[in-house]
Amino acid sequence: MSHPEQGLRVLKHSLRSRLFHWGLILGFMPAAITGFILWLKLGSDDFVNLAMKIHIVGAVIFTVSSLLYVIVAFDRVIAFVRLIWTWDDRDIGWMLTGGGYPQKMLLGKEIDVPPMDKLNSGQKIFGICVSIGGLLLIVTGWILYSFIPLAPKAFIHGADLVHMAFGVFLGLFMFVHIFLGLYNWSEFKAMFGDGTQLLSEVEHHNPLYAANKLERATHPDADEPIGVPSCKVE
């Protein structure tokens, strides 16, 4: 892929992560949209039943891609988990200013914000919500699918409450995520393109990441192959 912008580039999203993202688009997104249809029972019997079928197919794709990602990209999962649970003063400062986004979007002026790692504090909260919520959605969803006449009524009712609450929450989160992705266009291009971003942009948005976690690429022209985690178990 050729880039019109000049400058050094960073591989921000590996091929495995980008493929997982496609799994979420093909699995989670239809499941979320049909989930709202099922919740509000919008449309005829046949339409709602079709929504249920799509919901289940989406759930299969979502579950399988999540499992595969944990297996083939265990290093990325570890990096993600470590990152979203690491909080310090800078995150508090970032949260207090809203990352400068309200000022930028509403007033059109840029203010200084505390430096961030690969994910800013807002994204970390998002990450915590989707990792826990996604797991709960998968677990409760399959319980609701296969355990209904077997498991106690109260247990099924509880599973449904959890599924509904996190489903609605993450479903709405998804729309926010799509909006912010489009707003940060270079992020969008990276995720749907070759995963790279200009070093200058990375240094602007993710200064701690740029300073601490990057190294020169040894094979500058090759994406890493699927299935070989780049983590070293010491």
Partner: protein, 103 residues
Amino acid sequence: MAHYDYVEKAVNVSRREFLGMVGVAGAILWTGAYAATDLVQDRNKYIKMRAQGIYKDDVKAKVRQSHHNPGLKDMYQKFAGQPLSPLAEELFHTRYIDRTRLG
């Protein structure tokens, strides 16, 4: 092919951390599966408990066979005569309807 100059440094997962993660995940899965099996297996427990309550009532009853129920014997003597008597047929028996023929 993608062209890039920088990549993220490899993430080092210590053996300890790896085993810890696997252990925690395994423990959660194991207790979850155990609890679920337990819940599923106990789903009819309340029926069995009620049945035991009924059998307890049987065991502690003074008479345990219908033909020894003193009040019932009294009733047949004073009122219905005997089972399947004309009065018993009139009051205690019925007939059924083929509902597929009802409009």
